[in-house]
């Protein structure tokens, strides 16, 4: 229990530190939202007036205080440009990004675990080379290029086999469930196949280590076949490692999908962040980044705790010397 409390306090401290870093880093960027709003041909007075209206003329410490004060009340503020509550905007964007990540993760798990196990069990040199090749190539394809390739192959209207939409999200959002799901297929495949290749390499290496370490021999000595030993014992033993990898992968996908969302014209968190940053809508950007950072840290926290639960040697520290 002490471990969980320690980790949680660390989580809160890290969040505070990150909020300062985000706030300071964004203030260094050239340009500001008032200039963007006023545009070309505006008299200098208008920019100053807009800055005052938006509270951009206050000292940085006061601006940071306002922002943090809002955060403590669970209020992320309003976007300077769109005038909408950032919480609701992020929620709207997250309703696209997180299903996309979840689908991508499913694809990655199916591809990564199954091929990882198959690569471990493969005995023919030709088959092993094939798996090795996929692991290297699949993992090193840039997401943008992979996405373009899938568009060329499967995009409705332009692809060789036009079955999936490749642009945008349906007007009705998730009310048009089929349309919404269809529009996420290609982006999810892009994310999933690339990350799946990495997961496959991890799985194969973890299982390979186990095979060479003798634990599976023990299982086989007890009557398991090699395949059973790998699937039933090996996977379970490799689970703590794989959970860490999948956790990191999940967090990494949040940033990874930025490129993908722009490519597939999905109005998710990633593409929104790019737009807001371009417009210097700093209040929106800092809140979005803060949420992402909190999410990353939360994933790390959960992975750490899970790791302890799954790894019997570490489990005792969770139980606090029971």
């Amino acid at each position: 229990m002490r471990f969980v409390i320690q980790r949680f306090l660390l989580f809160v401290a890290a969040l505070l530190a990150i909020s300062v870093v985000i706030f300071a880093a964004l203030r260094v960027l050239p340009g500001d939202v008032a200039t963007v709003m006023a545009g070309l041909n505006s008299p200098p007075g208008r920019v100053a007036r807009l800055r005052a209206q938006m509270g951009l003329d206050k000292p940085f410490v006061a601006q940071y205080g306002d922002w943090m004060g809002g955060l403590l009340h669970g209020d992320f503020g309003k976007s300077l440009l769109t005038g909408r509550s950032i919480t609701s905007t992020v929620a709207m964007r997250a309703s696209i990004t997180f299903p996309l990540i979840a689908l991508g993760l499913v694809v990655a798990l199916v591809v990564g675990l199954s091929l990882g196990v198959a690569a471990t069990l493969a005995t023919r040199p030709a088959a092993r080379s094939c798996f090795h090749f996929f692991g290297i190539v699949g993992g090193s394809i840039p997401a943008l290029w992979g996405g373009l390739l899938l568009i060329l192959l499967f995009s409705k209207g332009t692809g060789l086999i036009g079955i999936f939409p490749s642009q945008g999200f349906p007007e009705g959002g998730w009310h048009d469930f089929g349309g919404a799901l269809a529009s996420l297929v290609l982006p999810a495949l892009t994310v999933g196949i690339i990350d799946g290749a990495s997961l496959m390499r991890y799985t194969r290496s973890a299982l390979g280590d186990l095979l060479s370490s003798g634990y599976l021999d023990q299982a086989m000595a007890c009557g398991y076949t090699r395949r059973q030993a790998v699937l039933k014992v090996g996977l379970r033993l490799a689970m703590p490692q794989l959970v860490s990898v999948v956790g990191l992968m999940f967090a990494g996908m949040v940033t990874g999908v930025m490129v993908i969302e722009n490519l597939f014209a999905l109005p998710g968190i990633g593409s929104g962040l790019v737009t807001d940053l371009g417009n210097r809508d700093l209040i929106a950007v800092q809140s979005e980044l803060f949420m992402l950072a909190a999410f990353f840290l939360a994933v790390g926290f959960v992975v750490d705790v899970l790791h302890r639960l799954l790894d019997p040697r570490l489990k005792s520290s969770l139980e606090g010397g029971r």
Binding site: T82, T89, V117, Q167, A206, D209, L210, R227, Q228, P312
Partner: protein, 591 residues
């Protein structure tokens, strides 16, 4: 994390005796044999005689070979009961189910808004490029906002036609006093806002007064403004302190828009206007849905119930959307990507329309290096405009000065600095530079214009002795460095506004251009009592600006619009700044 799977023999066993005391983080504790103890299998392929008690599990090779032999031979046969096999089957089934589900949704799903052939569609979807970030037309700059709202959601006291000429809107007629100091507008009757409030002369006068008093966007273009007064419910008079020849045209834009003084709404996310459409849904940077305004009383009643505007930052994405039928119109379509639509004339029409976009290559008139007029002239002679235009598809028009063909005061100035490399080299040599000892210049522009233009200019100017460093930045950075701080040598911007010659008389503008004679011509033009007189002075001013070479006008961008056959009433001219949608209809023809 090692990525190299441990080398092991075909049977997976190793002779590494130390492995049992391995201390790898990933391995289980050696003292936990129960972890590796099978609990639920009775493998049929292991003969009872061979099944040793698990406590005596060992890495004995013969044993393992024996066990493996069994598994190898029965893997296929006994596989049905084999846990591994089951895993595979489940994975396969899951994958098939997912794929099947997706197929059902995608393939079997009825395509949305599939209209019966020959019947007019209830919804038309239009693909555009630049998205407005909010709807606050009084404060937020950007022509994307004018494009959506002016004439569709908000109406002005007057508006313009597709040739950029002033025509009636809320006012049905007007007259100008002989001294050019006051304008009287007679309004249509029985007009209402979309919330049901009546629209009369008081709203008109209040809107214009508010604009000037609060300094809303574009207020500064209401030059010499004195007051706007409602003479009665249907008559408004605008008084000036001095004649201003551009007043009527200015009122076709944001300064002339009429707002409901009683309405309470958040202008960033909502709109209450008197136009033929209302905003039904607005997703910033993605799409805007317009619904026909049921309360609209004017002459421009919406012909299509719903118009969806979708914004594509990515040109390829936009083209895909038109091909797949997600949008029926694409404006603009990048000309180099329009070819498939031009070829498929059975289903698509592609046309170019005129616009007032000027791609201005500004040369800092007070810059260290570009302050030298010879350098600026050399650049103008050294740019091959035909080549630039051809590489973009050929629809754009060359222009030799600051006024586009749709604006007052236009004349063809392309003869002033024709492409002439020899002359350019001579001027550069005079200034002290040759291709062997080039002059280094920075070209700074926003990433919205892509990288091709910068690359082309670099290669064209290299030949005359200029080493161009192309610096593509975010628009906000451009605003800060170039526009605000004037820290640049060369800059590139698409100035798409119409009637924007005043930039050249504003000495504080980022051009750093200052010519008293030009200011004098301009002031005379604005004080002129007839359009002809105004246009004459403007033409002289423009010619003088072009001669001074404070910039090169790369081309007048023409908008290429691609649409499905069956789309009617979509404006081609000026459609990036003014896009009246009331007449747009779509009737599906052919397959």
């Amino acid at each position: 994390m090692p990525t190299n799977p441990g080398a092991h023999g075909e049977d997976g066993a190793t002779n590494n005796k130390t492995s049992m005391t391995s201390n790898q983080a990933s391995g289980p504790a050696a003292s936990q044999p129960t972890d590796a103890k099978p609990t639920d299998t009775k493998p049929s392929d292991v003969k009872p005689a061979d099944a040793k008690p698990s406590a005596a599990a060992s890495t004995d090779e013969t044993l393992n070979a024996h066990v493996k032999g069994g598994s190898g031979s029965v893997a296929g046969g006994a596989g049905k009961k084999n846990g591994g096999k089951r895993h595979w089957i489940w994975l396969l089934v899951a994958a098939v189910v997912v794929v099947a589900l997706v197929f059902v949704f995608v393939v079997v799903r009825k395509p949305k808004s599939q209209e019966a052939q020959g019947r007019q569609a209830d919804t038309v979807t239009i693909g555009l490029k630049l998205a407005p970030t909010n709807l606050d037309i009084r404060n937020q700059s950007g022509s994307a906002l004018d494009q959506v709202l002016v004439g569709n959601v908000y109406e002005g006291i007057v508006t313009r036609d597709s040739n950029n000429k002033v025509i009636p809107s809320i006012a049905k007629s007007w007259e100008k006093s002989a001294d050019g100091m006051s304008y009287t507008f007679h309004l249509n009757q029985g007009m209402v806002f979309s919330n049901g409030d009546k629209l009369d002369a008081h709203d008109v006068a209040w809107s214009i007064e508010e604009l000037v008093k609060r300094g809303y966007h574009d207020a500064e273009s209401m030059q010499n403004f004195k007051s706007a007064t409602a003479l009665d419910a249907n008559t408004v008079r605008i008084d000036l302190t001095a004649p201003y020849a551009n007043l009527l045209w200015t009122l076709t834009g944001r300064p002339g828009l009429v707002f409901d003084q009683k309405a309470q709404y958040d202008p960033k996310t909502q709109a209450v206007g008197s136009g033929p459409y209302t905003i039904a849904k607005f997703t910033p940077n993605d799409s805007i849905t317009l619904k026909a305004n049921p309360k609209y009383q004017g002459a421009n009643k919406a012909k299509t119930k719903t118009v969806v505007l979708r914004y594509f930052g990515d040109d390829n994405a936009a083209v895909n959307a038109l091909k797949s039928g997600d949008v029926q119109v694409l404006a603009p379509v990048t000309e180099n990507l329009a070819e498939p639509f031009e070829k498929d004339s059975e289903h698509f029409t592609v046309s170019a329309g005129d616009d007032t976009d000027k791609y201005v290559l500004a040369m800092n008139s007070k810059g260290d290096k570009t302050g030298d007029k010879r350098v600026r002239e050399a650049i103008r002679y050294g740019i091959n405009h035909k080549e630039l235009i051809a590489s973009r598809g050929g629809a754009d028009k060359p222009m030799g000065g600051p006024i586009s063909s749709l604006d007052p005061g236009y004349q063809d100035l392309t003869g002033l600095y024709p492409y002439n490399q020899a002359k350019a080299k001579a001027l550069m040599k005079e200034a002290g530079y040759t291709p062997d000892h080039p002059l280094e210049l920075r070209l700074t522009y926003a990433n919205t214009y892509g990288t091709e233009l910068g690359d082309q200019l670099r290669s064209q100017l290299k030949a005359i002795g200029i080493d161009l460093k192309v610096n593509v930045v975010e628009f906000s950075t451009w605003l800060q460095d170039v526009y605000n701080n004037k820290d640049y040598d060369l800059s590139l911007v698409d100035h798409n506004e119409s009637h924007d010659f005043s930039q050249w008389v504003n000495t504080m503008y980022y051009y750093n251009y200052d010519n008293a004679q030009v200011r004098d011509f301009y002031n005379k033009a604005m004080a002129a009592s007839t359009d002809k007189e105004r246009d004459g002075y403007l033409a002289q001013a423009a010619k003088q600006v072009s001669r001074d070479a404070p910039a090169d006008w790369l081309f007048n961008y023409r908008i290429t619009t691609a649409m499905r056959k069956g789309v009617k009433g979509f404006p081609l001219n000026l459609n990036q700044t003014l896009l009246p949608l009331y007449g747009v209809t779509y009737t599906q023809v052919g397959k």
